[in-house]
């Protein structure tokens, strides 16, 4: 839906791209396409098959948003035993669910736009790069970078549980600039020193449980090894 929020740019964009398939905004949808943007992540077999079809019918596949790129909040269910998870449904659940995983668990993903919601600026950057023929790269640095560029005060210094130092930048520090600690919706970046940050949080006085909960919220799939390590510690 963020696409439709591009208001200012969407007309300009349509000069270069046509929209062939958009379930939420169009009635007639076609395949194949040059670029497929996939939001969300499969939670049952049909959806996996649909995803495979999309992959086959598109040149470029973009994982759009947290769930598609890191497993996101749905993956939180992977922290629980399936039976407990089923308790949220009264009576019979609709289908036997599978563990939510990032899209790249099932198919090749060309690009990822992280975040919940993903960043409009990054979307524009990606589309521009594709049209121009430049190589779009994931941000290899933390939210702290963008937060510092805005010359904000540090929320860790204020004693808040902020995941900024291990979370991939690209959001322009939207939350932290507004005094809200980073929840890590964009997931960790490859270079993140996760264990060192966990140590910082524990030293600040947060309990293991609090830290594990924070890490699990958006990116359980990405953090599960380190969470297992933390449990053992």
């Amino acid at each position: 839906m963020e696409f439709l929020n591009l208001e200012a740019q969407i007309l300009d964009l349509l000069k270069y791209l046509g929209i062939k398939n958009f379930r939420l905004a169009k009635e007639i949808n076609e395949m194949p396409v040059d670029i497929a943007f996939v939001e969300g992540t499969p939670t049952n077999r049909e959806e996996i098959i649909k995803l495979l079809k999309i992959r086959k019918g598109s040149h470029i596949l973009v994982a759009l948003g947290s769930c598609a790129s890191t497993g996101g909040v749905p993956a939180l269910v992977n922290t629980l035993r399936k039976r407990e998870a089923m308790d949220v449904y009264d009576g019979e659940p609709p289908e036997i669910p599978i563990d939510p995983k990032p899209l790249d668990y099932y198919v090749d993903v060309d690009y990822r736009l992280y975040g919940c919601p993903f960043s409009k600026d990054e979307l524009i950057e990606l589309i521009t790069d594709i049209i121009i023929g430049k190589n779009y790269r994931d941000k290899e640095y933390s939210v702290c970078v963008e937060c510092s560029l805005r010359e904000n005060g540090c929320l860790l210094e204020q004693g808040l549980l902020c995941l900024g130092p291990i979370t991939r930048g690209g959001c322009n520090a939207l939350c932290t600039a507004n005094g809200k600690p980073c929840l890590g919706c964009r997931g960790p970046y490859e270079d993140a020193n996760i264990k060192a940050h966990i140590k910082v949080l524990l030293d600040m006085g947060f309990s293991k449980e609090e830290v594990m909960e924070a890490l699990s919220l958006f990116s359980y799939e990405k953090f599960k090894e380190v969470i297992a390590w933390l449990k053992e510690e």
């Binding site: 300009d12 964009l13 000069k15 270069y16 589309i127 521009t128 049209i131 121009i132 290899e140 640095y141 933390s142 702290c144 970078v145 510092s148 560029l149 805005r150 010359e151 904000n152 005060g153 540090c154 860790l156 210094e157 900024g164 130092p165 291990i166 490859e190 270079d191 993140a192 020193n193 060192a196 940050h197 140590k199 910082v200 030293d203």
Partner: protein, 349 residues
């Protein structure tokens, strides 16, 4: 000429309750920058004099961004009939007064000047930097992380136009330049007595003592210390620090002498127009030393070491000075609790 000479011999002070008048007079001709507080303390353009914050010591955020903003547009390009047209964003000239700079701020500007208007001249920096009047002020007491005494103390040798020291109802005023001499002729200043001078000295000594008590580190022999640090390139300490450093880059961004930047293009969808900008960069980030062939500092410990070397070894080799002021900002912001003062102590001891 004669008059000017007399004035320099004369000792001066300004009454605290006349500061606002003085600043208001300056504001008529100059853009005024002074410390403000909005959660964090930093230097901002002052419209309303009541927003100025009289702090006991340095600001959280340094002066750097006035002259070298975190994001800065270089130019805009547009494809025209005759090829590409460029529109440069070299900012218009602004005559500024900076009020309330600390010794470390003033030293940091000297270091930035060395990098950005010396051997290599950066027109975007130069344009903002020239025509700047600096009114410095002694600290009332240091912050926990301060260690400027390792670099010559709280009062810089030069680099200011006027220097104020709190002596109770007045500020004692030292004049540091010809512009400073012009400023004191504005009529807000009065003669100071020998007693005022004694008060000023006592005041500075007291704060100085406080700083030294914390610092307990002597880096004054630049060559020797720098050699000492250089010898430690394989020391245990780098591994230790590399393990805890989050490589968040905060120490770089907050440092008043860190000056690295990345140049980026922001094109329109078809590239026919767009902007070229620069954005602060940090040597702690993974991609900083990455080239098409190799990443020279893939490991975190190499990055931590590089930053220390780029303050205490390389600039000494090249310019004969350190590129650190002892402001302690990097120590204060580091989430991993890496304390530069302690690191140096371990290295030079």
């Amino acid at each position: 000429m004669k008059l000017v000479k007399m004035v320099t011999i004369m000792m001066l002070k300004i009454a605290k309750n006349r500061i606002n008048e003085f600043l208001a007079a300056l504001k008529e001709e100059y853009t005024l920058y002074a410390p403000t507080s909005n959660g964090v303390t930093k230097f901002e353009k002052i419209e309303d004099l009541t927003s100025i914050c009289f702090l006991p010591n340095r600001t959280d955020i340094s002066l750097k961004s006035i002259f070298f903003p975190p994001k800065q547009k270089f130019f805009r390009w547009k494809r025209g009939e005759m090829g590409y047209e460029l529109e440069d964003y070299l900012d218009g000239e602004e005559k500024k007064v900076i009020f309330g700079a600390r010794g470390c701020d003033i030293r940091s500007l000297k270091i930035l000047d060395m990098y950005m208007r010396g051997e290599f001249s950066d027109p975007y920096y130069e344009k903002r930097r020239k025509n700047t009047i600096i009114i410095g002020i002694s600290c009332d007491y240091p912050r926990e992380s301060c260690f400027c005494s390792a670099f010559g103390g709280m009062v810089p040798e030069d680099g200011y136009d006027l220097w104020f020291t709190d002596i109770g109802t007045h500020y004692f005023v030292d004049v540091g330049s010809d512009i400073g001499k012009e400023l004191i002729s504005l009529g807000f200043f009065q003669e100071a007595s020998p007693e005022d001078l004694r008060k000023k000295k006592r005041r500075i000594e007291k704060v100085q003592f406080e700083i030294e008590r914390r610092t307990r580190i002597d880096l004054c022999e630049v060559k020797r210390c720098s050699q000492e640090i250089k010898k430690k390139s394989q020391d245990e300490i780098w591994r230790e620090l590399g393990e805890i450093c989050l490589c968040c880059g905060k120490c770089n961004f907050v440092c008043p002498t860190c000056h690295c930047f990345d140049v980026r293009d922001i094109p329109s969808f078809d590239g026919s127009e767009g902007y070229r900008i620069r954005v602060w960069d940090s040597c702690h980030l993974y991609e900083y030393a990455k080239t098409s062939a190799e990443n020279f500092r893939k490991e975190k410990h190499a990055r931590v070491r590089y930053r220390v070397y780029d303050k205490f070894v390389f600039p000494v080799m090249r310019y004969g000075v350190y590129a650190c002021t002892g402001c302690g900002r990097c120590t204060e912001v580091c989430p991993a609790g890496i304390n530069l003062r302690e690191v140096l102590r371990r290295l030079v001891e």
